[in-house]
């Protein structure tokens, strides 16, 4: 009996904790959605209301029609998809080499790559910006995509290598005896097997790039036409006054693609994150 009560209390406590964490995580999202349907005067009143007095869907229409939403959205899609593609390509190749080949300094190079995770992008802004100026890449799409790819590589290599380490070498040797070159082993054996990691890296990278704000603002300093969505919708934020309903509507719209990608790939993602954790 005592055991049952203890179990019940323990279960109840953990559920309460999980509910609290969920509320803390979900509240900003729900608040964003709620605000996106409000009128400006309703937001600015001194009385805070959670539920809008009336649902103003035209906030969304305004954002889409008047704020170059389509253009910013397409910019973001372009930056995100090319970055994801770049990260998947370079990280998987590098991880294949780090995992399955021996060469002098292999460990040192690997730890150098991984060590770059310790440097936050803002910490490298000034040298990066100077470098991009010298390469004539400031205010260009390439000037944004290249640092984006670089920023995602270290973590992606780490994930890919962990996964490739678990693939038995005999599989590669069998492929070699079957007539595969190293390149074909990578393309025809390693990559098809790495689907869970491809999905995981895609989601992590896409989320990071889609939500990235600061680097885009710095690199595209004088070409607003190339802004990604996250920078573009900030036009609703003024110096003295911020148009919260439209800003929130824009942010709500910006959230949809990443949410869809996550829902589509989440089953792979769980496999990818736990890959190598359990001997199967």
């Amino acid at each position: 009996m005592r055991y049952k009560i203890e179990n019940f209390i323990r279960g109840a406590m953990s559920h309460i904790l999980l509910w609290m964490v969920s509320i803390v995580c979900l509240f900003p999202l729900v608040w964003m959605l709620s605000t996106s349907f409000k009128r400006m005067d309703e937001v600015n009143t001194s009385v805070l209301t959670f539920w809008p007095k009336e649902f103003r869907f035209d906030n969304y229409v305004t954002v889409i029609r008047e704020a170059h939403f389509g253009q910013y959205f397409m910019n973001s899609v372009f930056y995100t998809s090319l970055t994801v593609l770049g990260v998947l390509t370079f990280a998987s190749m590098a991880a294949f080499v780090f995992s399955k080949f021996k060469f002098p300094g292999d460990r040192l190079f690997f730890y150098l790559f991984i060590g770059s995770m310790m440097i936050p992008i803002p910490g490298a802004f000034i040298p990066l910006f100077i470098l991009l100026i010298k390469l004539n890449l400031v205010n260009t799409r390439l000037g944004l995509i290249l640092p984006y790819i670089n920023s995602g590589l270290a973590f992606a290599i780490y994930l890919f290598k962990g996964f490739f380490d678990e693939i038995p070498n005999e599989l590669l040797e069998a492929a070699e005896l079957d007539g595969c070159t190293k390149w074909k082993v990578y393309r025809m054996i390693m990559i098809p097997l790495a689907k869970p990691i491809l999905a995981t890296v895609s989601i992590f990278t896409a989320m990071a790039i889609w939500n990235e704000y600061l680097l885009a603002l710095v690199i595209m300093i004088s070409r607003p036409v190339l802004f990604p969505l996250q920078v573009g919708i900030m036009k609703f934020q003024g110096v003295h006054i911020t148009d919260y309903p439209h800003l929130m509507a824009g942010m709500g719209l910006a959230t949809i693609p990443i949410l869809v990608i996550y829902l589509l790939l989440q089953r792979f993602m769980i496999k990818g994150v736990t890959a190598g954790a359990i001997k199967g």
Partner: protein, 370 residues
């Protein structure tokens, strides 16, 4: 069809570890050669060097008379079956078997024909559309063999292919692989640490120990005439019994004296020893468990050659009984008929079949009887 020749082949890894030392052997066309030895003896490394998966530090490897030391694995026309099957998990069984032919750009019709033929031989026709994970261990091993068959390679290599299977399936697959060899009439090189597999499957066996070849011979020749104490102890289950002793000659008769007993050697043993081990006095006597008898069944045995022993363990095997006995400082295994009734702790008089003894030089382990 091909002959594989290794001439003084060695493998030394960076850091100086020598995995294979100065190995020479000729594997004849269509021969089923077994490489057997304990873990770390260099058998798998030798196989991997033949496959082209390991570089050769020194020596020559010839396939069909052509030196292939520097020929990449894919161009050696060799197929290999791995211990853990090494099937491609993302491909169907058909694609697994067809993969090497696709790589070599065979026409689709030819690929289909070959895969279906191999599947027919191995009983895999019904599972060609399935993925490896849905197959049993035995089926996966057959797919691995099928993948090798479809290529019709010059040489088949097997690296402990039955180790992951349960005992019953291992016996079945052993027979299947032997049949396959008779059917395909191709050179096969098979690595195992299991001497039963080696004895039952191979045309010849190469026994490796400490990176060197100890002996190459036919299975029964290895069993009956081991060239060293190591081979004598490794081949045969239960293993050969060994006693340390000294050879003494008294009144023109030769004796082996050990702790607590003295054995009179036969004249033919003395003659043979004179040829192979002159001046050797410290020896190891080896006797197989089936050559140890209960004196009750050998009434004509000389009293001099009787070893008093005590039964330590009785292991009924069905058709026979294995007895572990204590004889002075030594432990002896005897293989007895199943109708022998003995109990643990019982005293027994043992008689050795002196015609079947083996003598080895105590220091080097070299066989002394020719």
């Amino acid at each position: 069809m091909a002959e594989v020749i290794l001439k003084n082949v060695s493998k030394i890894y960076p850091g100086g570890y020598c995995a294979v030392q100065d190995i020479s052997m000729e594997i004849r066309d269509k021969e089923f050669m077994i490489l057997v030895g304990p873990s770390g003896c260099g058998k798998s490394t030798t196989l991997r060097m033949i496959a082209g998966l390991e570089s050769i530090s020194s020596g020559d490897l010839l396939i069909d008379g052509k030196r292939v030391n520097d020929v990449p694995a894919m161009d050696r026309d060799i197929a290999m079956v791995f211990q853990n099957y090494a099937l491609y998990p993302h491909m169907t069984i058909f694609d697994n078997m067809a993969f090497s032919l696709h790589m070599r750009k065979y026409p689709k019709a030819e690929i289909k024909k070959r895969v279906e033929e191999a599947a027919e031989i191995l009983g895999l026709t019904a599972v060609l559309d399935r993925k490896p994970k849905s197959l049993s261990g035995g089926q996966r091993q057959r797919v691995a063999v099928g993948r090798a068959i479809v290529r019709k390679p010059k040489v088949f290599l097997f690296d402990e292919p039955l180790s992951n299977l349960d005992a019953a399936l291992r016996v079945q697959m052993r027979a299947e692989l032997s049949n396959l060899h008779h059917r395909l009439q191709t050179t096969m090189i098979y690595v195992t640490h299991d001497q039963v597999e080696a004895m039952t499957m191979g045309d010849r066996i190469a026994v490796l120990h400490k990176a060197r070849i100890q002996q190459i011979d036919r299975p029964m020749a290895l069993y009956d005439r081991p060239a060293s104490q190591f081979v004598a102890g490794f081949i045969g289950s239960p293993a050969m019994n060994f006693f340390r002793g000294r050879i003494k000659e008294v009144n023109n008769e030769m004796f082996l004296e050990s702790d607590g007993f003295s054995l009179k050697l036969l004249p033919q043993t003395r003659d043979s020893l004179a040829r192979g081990g002159q001046n050797v006095t410290d020896v190891m006597l080896g006797i197989r468990p089936e050559d140890v008898y209960d004196k009750l069944f050998i009434p004509a045995a000389e009293d001099r050659n009787v070893l008093p022993a005590t039964v330590d363990l009785v292991e009924p095997m069905g058709a026979e009984i294995f007895l572990r006995l204590r004889c002075g400082a030594y432990s002896i295994t005897a293989r007895m008929r199943k109708d022998v009734t003995v109990t643990v702790g019982q005293d027994m008089d043992l008689v050795l079949d002196m015609k079947r003894i083996h003598l080895f030089e105590a220091d080097s382990g070299r066989a002394l009887l020719s």
